[in-house]
């Protein structure tokens, strides 16, 4: 088994004055060697606690945590410290030592690990070069920008050549451009050194940018996990759906839908885009065969992990029976569709099924 990290039925609760709070609730996940796992959830979903269970900064109330061959939950604290030296960690607020220079920050974990001074200096220079901050070696953290601070954080986390990197909301305090730089750096670390990374975030954009797999957390539980593409294309829980919608704006909102229904008499049907050649042509052909006219009225197609993703909302015109038959035919081809239900907007005319079988003369979308 090549899982580097394994959590087995892990729970963590805190007893507070106002009662028991369950931060992590019966979570079992594995992280494969060399992959980037994204863990997404709203604040309070338990993801920060989850990541702290992986390097035993927190211990679970129940369940077992494995990193490599070590069962952290069974080791004495002394050995847990040894395991922590093989796990790097970066933070939302960077957590740099203000009493030390940039070089001093990167050197610190090497000192803890007992690396001799000469080797330490060599390694610090190498790391600062890698993150592009060699000229800032003697600067103090408060002289750096947010992006530079996080790059120091990354250099420091990589100092002892860890096998695993934990990124706890590492880009949440950064502006979008700097976020992209830092994510690119993490991806580079993953690809050049084969470093396994667990990324904790509330930003689906970060997941989309670098993660191979994603786990969605809600109220302490992992409610959904899988390949990033699969979760984006077919989110199966409300929580996942909401996160996916924050980056893919391919589905009309209720308000948009009401406006579309107002402007178009035909039936509004949304078809999730599939990553297959000629997908839209296939849809158009099947619709045409059933004498159904179609116009694309909303949607978008973008790329995720080099595959197409998105959805298209069509206005379908023609006889009801023809439209039903066309949708059934699409379904039979493995192309599911969603007939949009328009809420009767106040003042708006209810727009149910297509009124009359006007001739299918609408232009077919390609």
């Amino acid at each position: 088994m090549s899982a580097l990290v394994r959590l087995e039925n892990v729970s963590r609760h805190y007893d507070t004055a106002s009662g028991r709070v369950t931060a992590v609730d019966d979570v079992s996940i594995e992280v494969e060697e060399g992959e980037i796992l994204g863990v997404i959830g709203y604040s309070g979903a338990g993801k920060s606690t989850l990541v702290r269970l992986v390097n035993a900064l927190e211990l679970p109330s129940s369940g077992r945590v494995f990193v490599g061959d070590d069962e952290l939950t069974a080791l004495p604290e002394r050995d847990r410290r040894r395991v922590r030296r093989t796990i790097g960690m970066i933070f939302q607020q960077f957590n740099l030592f203000h009493s030390r220079t940039v070089a001093g920050n990167v050197a610190y974990p090497l000192k803890v690990a007992g690396v001799p001074a000469a080797e330490r200096d060599r390694r610090v220079a190498q790391l600062l070069h890698f993150v592009g901050l060699l000229d800032k070696a003697h600067a103090h953290p408060e002289q750096l920008s947010g992006g530079q601070k996080q790059r120091v954080g990354i250099a420091r986390a990589l100092a002892t050549q860890p096998r695993l990197l934990l990124a706890d909301e590492a880009t949440s305090a950064l502006d979008p451009e700097t976020t992209a730089d830092v994510l690119a750096l993490l991806k580079r670390v993953n690809q050049e050194f084969g470093l396994t990374i667990i990324v904790i975030t509330h930003e689906m954009e970060a997941i989309r940018a670098i993660a191979d797999r994603v786990a969605v957390m809600d109220s302490g539980r992992v409610v959904e996990h899988g390949d990033v593409y699969d979760v984006f294309a077919r989110p199966s829980t409300r929580a996942a759906e909401r996160f996916v919608r924050t980056v893919l704006h391919d589905r009309p909102s209720a308000a948009t839908l009401a406006r579309l229904a107002e402007a178009h008499d035909g039936r509004l049907v949304t078809v999730p885009v599939q990553d297959s050649p000629g997908f839209t042509s296939t849809v158009a052909r099947i619709l045409g065969e059933h004498r159904v006219g179609s116009t694309i009225v909303f949607g978008g197609i973008s790329e995720l992990q080099n595959r197409s993703i998105g959805a298209l909302t069509y206005e379908l015109t023609g006889a009801d029976a023809d439209i039903d038959a066309a949708l059934a035919a699409l379904d039979a081809q493995g192309i599911p569709s969603i007939t949009e239900q328009v809420d009767a907007a106040p003042g708006g005319s209810p727009n149910g099924t297509a009124p009359n079988g006007s001739a299918p003369t609408e232009e077919v979308a390609r």
């Binding site: 390097n55 933070f91 957590n95 009493s99 610190y108």
Partner: protein
């Protein structure tokens, strides 16, 4: 004024005694206070070495001793002074009493400044696999050093004040000098000169503290 000149050698000796009492007790109370203050910080719930029992015991002891007025504290520890120093009068006995009396104030100042150190940097050090004792010495104290130095300047001023009180119980020093040669003989110039010297001492101490703190904080 002639009295003052006649007693100039006693005056110099008094300055020497005050400096001796203040610096010895600054170092001794500093060491004891740092140990107690660090203990109060790291044993509190959720900290590096959380331990409710140790925290409660140290906290209660500090709370009992600290509010005792120094003049009463000195009187109360006379038996201890006899046992350890062998006498209850003179600068050495006074320095010992000052060290103990100030240590509990130092403990609170150290605690206040170290509790304010960002938990994030401590967590970063823990995540690197550092031992808690190492984190205390190489992260916790350095990160809180600037405010700590300011706290020590405050203690220095307090010690000058307390050392003058120690004069009242035969501790020697400037306080003793001002009382014996000044106020008891209604010789006000001697009192004023002594006060002026104490003010200069306090200013120098505060100035040095500020300069060091500025250096530690780099601003």
């Amino acid at each position: 004024m002639n009295d003052f000149i006649a007693n100039l050698d006693v005056f110099w000796q008094a300055i020497g005694e005050t400096l001796f009492m203040v610096f010895v007790s600054l170092i001794a109370s500093g060491i004891i206070g740092i140990v107690l203050g660090v203990a109060l910080t790291v044993t509190r719930p959720g900290h590096l070495l959380a331990n409710r029992v140790v925290f409660t015991i140290v906290n209660v002891i500090v709370n009992i001793v600290r509010p005792i007025p120094f003049i009463i504290f000195v009187a109360a520890i006379q038996p201890l002074l006899l046992g350890v120093v062998g006498t209850t009068i003179g600068p050495t006995a006074a320095a010992f009493a000052l060290s103990l009396g100030a240590a509990f104030a130092v403990a609170r100042i150290v605690e206040q400044n170290l509790v304010a150190v960002d938990h994030g940097v401590l967590e970063a050090a823990r995540a690197m696999g550092a031992h808690p004792l190492r984190i205390i010495v190489t992260v916790l104290i350095p990160e809180g050093l600037g405010p700590l130095i300011l706290g020590f300047s405050f203690i220095f001023v307090g010690l000058v004040d307390m050392s003058a009180q120690a004069g009242l119980i035969g501790g020697g020093g400037l306080g003793d000098f001002a009382i014996t040669y000044g106020s008891q003989r209604y010789n006000w110039p001697i009192v004023y000169i002594t006060v002026a010297v104490i003010i200069v001492l306090v200013q120098l101490g505060q100035f040095a503290g500020n300069a060091l703190a500025r250096k530690a904080l780099r601003r």
